[in-house]
Amino acid sequence: MTSTEVHDGNALPTVETARKLGVLPEEFDRIREILGRTPNFTELSIFSVMWSEHCSYKNSIVWLKTLPRDGERMLAKAGEENAGLVDIGDGLACSFKIESHNHPSALEPYQGAATGVGGINRDIFTMGARPIAQLNSLRFGNPELAKTKWLVKGVVKGIGDYGNAFGIPTVGGEVFFDECYNTNPLVNAFSAGIVEVGKVAKATSYGVGNPVFIVGSATGKDGIHGATFASEDITDKSNEKLPAVQVGDPFMEKLLLEATLEIIETGYVIGIQDMGAAGIICSTSEMSAKGEHGMIIDLDKVPTRQSNMHGWEILLSESQERMLVVVEKGKEHIIQGIFDKWDLHCAQIGEVVAAGPNDAGRLHFYQHGALIADVPAYDLVLGGGAPQYHREYREPAYYQRFKQFEISSVPDTSADELTAVAKHLLSHPNIASRRWVYEQYDSMVGTANRSTNRPSDAALVRIRDVKRPDYSKGIAMTVDCNSRYVNADPFVGAQIAVSEAARNLTCTGAEPLAVTNNLNFGNPYVPEVYWQFVQAVKGMGAACLKFGTPVTGGNVSFYNQSSDDGPVFPTPTIGMIGLVENPEHQMTLDFKETDDLIYMIGVAKNDIASSEYLYSYRKVKESPAPQFDLEEEYTLHQGLKTLIQQGMVQSMHDVSDGGLFVALAESAMPRGLGFQVSTDKNYRTDAFLFGEAQSRVLVSVKPSQQGAFQKLLGADLKLAHTLLGTVTAKDFVIDSATVMTTGEAKDLFDNSLGKLMA
């Protein structure tokens, strides 16, 4: 490895080659400027993936920087490490993140979703955190379409097969159907783990002479240019990119998890990063840039699945279940011994070198004795030399049109129609039980899921600490986004997404701590799409600031757009974690006993905008977001916490999709109970029962506590509340008429999605 002449055996690329690799002419000029010469094909490939949207966030980063990122519990800033890191006290931290695998899942749903699960978990355990739970947020097209069923079955089986074998419980999530996702489904995977503060592994590289190892699976030709692929619209040519979809092996991931945690525990790891998008080139450049050192890498030493791989293929391969590790020199045998124990590849492929006088560290890649690429690490990475663009944005015409919706144009629900609407909603794929989906996931491995036998708005997972068996704190977690609201009004809709996440945590008895986001949008070069993005980021920022839940990181997925269907609904999925200090404060959503009193806390409104009722029953597709006020929402949450802490309520459930009626049904069904309630004649019946105006919560109260409850809410908390009725043994009774029996409701709710997918 002595040659200093850079040559990869290919003709020098032109601006046309660059364009084919997704590099703009002005970016090609910039690369020539950085290198002081024309890049060869290998180097151009390196820049094309590192400067792709997926790795560089070039079209989003200027707006992401406006999000609130600081908080007293933050142990790592957004983007600084592989995942966010939040102090939860007692010397422990929670590492968590959400990431999309939309484009691969659109073409190969099983492997696309499986590798999404694998990737997000590696982000967590590469920090030294053992994952404790996973969530996922899924969006599909019209569920009646054969293609949608194929996608749903493939994605769910992919998530299940990977997550189940990996052995971390999948404890919650969301599934939503709308025609806008016909071509572009969204698959967002979330994972959270626990690590001791002070034992967090970093994604860095330094120390001249320290060895660089590649560990885990061998490198193959799968997933090459996957990052570039994720940065384009999906077209009828996309199937030709199938090799850009990776293949997962959860068994390998499980072994890699155990081996990784074991090497980090030795204290000899300088830096470690998983290989996800853009493979070896991404890990070597990001770790080197962070540690301000260079690397010399011999690609001949990388274990490969086949011979004769080109250098650029080895560099860009997105083969799964691999890590790059920089270790203290002299400790190689210890690291090697641990990987031998787990029967995993562990190959030294190079070493750390000093930064030059005029750079912050260069990467030298050799193959067959020749230097095939010589690139500065800093210039490749986000926050370094990767481009950052301000994109044009423009308010789309539909936005004002949606606002012109008049509720009077829609007939109210008559008393005769109540049963029909109730059946429509309880069996609707956006509302019916997700049992068919979540029973395919192992939700109980780890013996930590406190929500299995105690249903709640968010999943609550206890932290099982072997060293402290009496440790009882728990992490509540949720993923939320009603993208129909965001489409109607991206600013308000994104605020609602954050608020619903916080509300779900609060209704579980948790204190919301921090956010990870997955921003799924269409093509950022379309000004109307970019306007949705900008408005959503602004709304999310405002709400996160209000709730004191900083954004710790996440993922942006643009180009969820096709020539047939246009862009998907703007879908900024919010993943939020909360802390339950005292497990006795876990709150559940199910009604407990007959004769308990049912109250709605919050204010009823004459509002059916963007509700499932208006959209799919009345078939009115154009209306604004539901009514929402951030201050009102925040005040509500503070009151709810007091109610829980003072033991005033038997159950608590937020009013969301499907409105008050669906909330009542969901509270009644778990124990096979019923309810008897009256509507308020000051409001339209449909708005009162099925409207989705925000900032409302359903609670049940023991009759013996009614006085204390009302005093606390009225005199002390000054929160509006309405006595709706009582919990009964069976039947859903509204205004003295039986709408349906609990048995009928349960049958529709529990089995509709499964029947649809059969």
């Binding site: 089986k157 074998a165 052995g167 395919q440 192992d442 491995v445 406190r450 299995t452 036998n453």
Partner: protein, 229 residues
């Protein structure tokens, strides 16, 4: 009295099983590595759930050839106690320590949820003293459909080797209560000498007050109160 939990590559309920025995049942437990040949003087060997060797080839088919299985099989043949839960059950069947096979669920899908079990055998110490009622225990498997030929089934029943059957919450047997299509609702079996037990459901997942269900603990407590005395 000492418990040993075998860790195969791909085991993922090993920590849960150790934690339950240690913290919920107060027992002395060690982990046994699949490459070793030493049972470390354990009286009772547990094969935990998970996906040993990624379920490659067939569930349990490769783990059965792990080095430590030689000692586990010898221990069982000497009359020592062995129990397999979920993937552990699949491994014991592959190893020939328990009769029958475990096939793909009838639904062709992995399934994780609470089911109910009725204790059956009066001869196996694991179930003999358990009060007759339905126990709520989670399952989590894709290949849990117990099958055995007609003669084998007759032998199992005649010799009272069936440990548990899937049932409704009220203890009745219906097709709906059978989550995977197991023959005769069988959820767990014992060998003829009643020292090797296997069951698909996970009692260790229902053994802690924190999880809101301790029906599994009543079953595991039998190991301590009846089996190992």
């Amino acid at each position: 009295m000492k418990f040993g939990v075998v860790v195969f590559p791909g085991s993922n309920c090993d920590d849960d099983t150790v934690y339950t025995l240690q913290h919920n049942l107060g027992q002395n437990v060690v982990k046994l590595w699949h490459k070793d040949h030493d049972l470390q003087g354990c009286d009772f060997i547990l094969l935990p759930g998970g996906f040993s060797y990624g379920d490659y080839l067939r569930t349990g088919a490769i783990a059965r050839f792990s080095p430590i299985m030689n000692e586990v099989i010898e221990h069982a043949n000497r009359g020592g106690y062995v129990m397999g839960i979920c993937n552990g059950f699949q491994i014991l069947v592959e190893a020939g320590l328990l009769p029958g096979v475990l096939l793909r669920n009838l639904s062709q899908k992995y399934s994780c949820r609470n089911v109910h079990l009725l204790p059956q055998s009066k001869k196996a110490l694991l179930t003999a003293e358990l009060p007759q009622r339905a126990y709520k225990i989670p399952i989590a498997h894709g290949d849990g459909r117990y099958f055995i030929d007609e003669d084998g089934l007759k032998r199992l029943n005649d010799q009272d080797q069936v440990l548990f059957r899937y049932c409704e919450a009220d203890g009745s047997f219906t097709d709906e209560a059978n989550p995977n299509g197991s023959i005769d609702h069988i959820a767990g079996v014992s060998n003829e000498t009643f020292n090797v037990f296997g069951m698909m459901p996970h009692p260790e997942r229902a053994s802690d007050e924190a999880l809101g269900n301790i029906d599994g603990r009543y079953i595991l407590e039998q190991l301590v109160s009846t089996v190992l005395i």
